[in-house]
């Protein structure tokens, strides 16, 4: 299975790329650890998670084709 991870705002810069694919991730908490391995400095940033365009703060099991977004505090206007 493969999920798509979107990095927004300053995290797009931290990740070097706005999009990254991860394989064989079980859950959101699992994914977070994997991302932290790739980009250790991400621990310095606050962000919220959305799963398939829905904000969530739960640790949900992931399935193939899921889209997870890492979103720093919004700053529109």
């Amino acid at each position: 299975m493969q999920v798509k991870v979107l990095f927004f705002g300053v995290l797009a810069e931290v990740s070097g790329t706005g999009i990254k694919y991860y394989h064989d991730v079980r859950s959101i908490s699992d994914l977070k650890l994997r991302i932290q391995d790739d980009f250790p400095e991400i621990v310095h940033y606050n962000f919220r998670i959305s799963l398939n365009s829905e904000l969530t703060d739960k640790d949900i099991e992931l399935k193939s084709e899921d889209v997870i977004a890492l979103m720093p505090p919004f700053a529109g206007g």
Partner: protein
């Protein structure tokens, strides 16, 4: 992706003009309140802001903007229409990056609903900004 809520670059005079014309047709509206957010040439640590580059999570912007409209319509019974347009990409100082256009039967709800819509946008719309300074350095906000 198609969206009613995002525009590439600054919110143009043309968008504003078209909205006013469109609203004019509705003879049950007694008041329109329009909020325009503009990029300020702020000076931060001695550097002047030249532009802001906005980025957005388009799919979620659509979802959240619809939710905001639903909230406003349910709280303000006198409101007839709500339009929201936010910029993506580069907007220079002095240009418009946000438009909120609320029409209502009477002025109080037009004002209050517009104000509340702007506050909800600030809190709930997945948009990010990068201030670009005169020397082309930048800072995320």
């Amino acid at each position: 992706m198609e969206t009613n809520y995002l525009t590439d670059g600054p919110v143009s005079q043309k968008i504003i003009t078209l909205l006013i014309e469109k609203m004019g047709g509705k003879t049950d509206s007694g008041g329109h309140t329009i909020f325009l957010g503009q990029v300020r040439a702020d000076v931060i640590d001695g550097l002047k802001v030249k532009a802001i580059e906005y980025s957005a999570y388009i799919e979620l912007v659509n979802v959240e903007a619809e939710k905001i409209k639903k909230t406003i319509f349910s709280e303000f019974a006198d409101v007839n229409s709500i339009e929201i347009v936010h910029s993506t990409g580069i907007v220079y100082a002095g240009e418009i990056s946000l438009l909120v256009f609320v029409s209502a039967g009477h002025r109080h709800q037009a004002m209050q609903a517009c104000s509340k819509t702007v506050e909800l946008i600030k809190v709930n719309l997945p948009v990010w900004k990068k201030e670009i300074f005169e020397d082309d350095s930048h800072k995320w906000k």
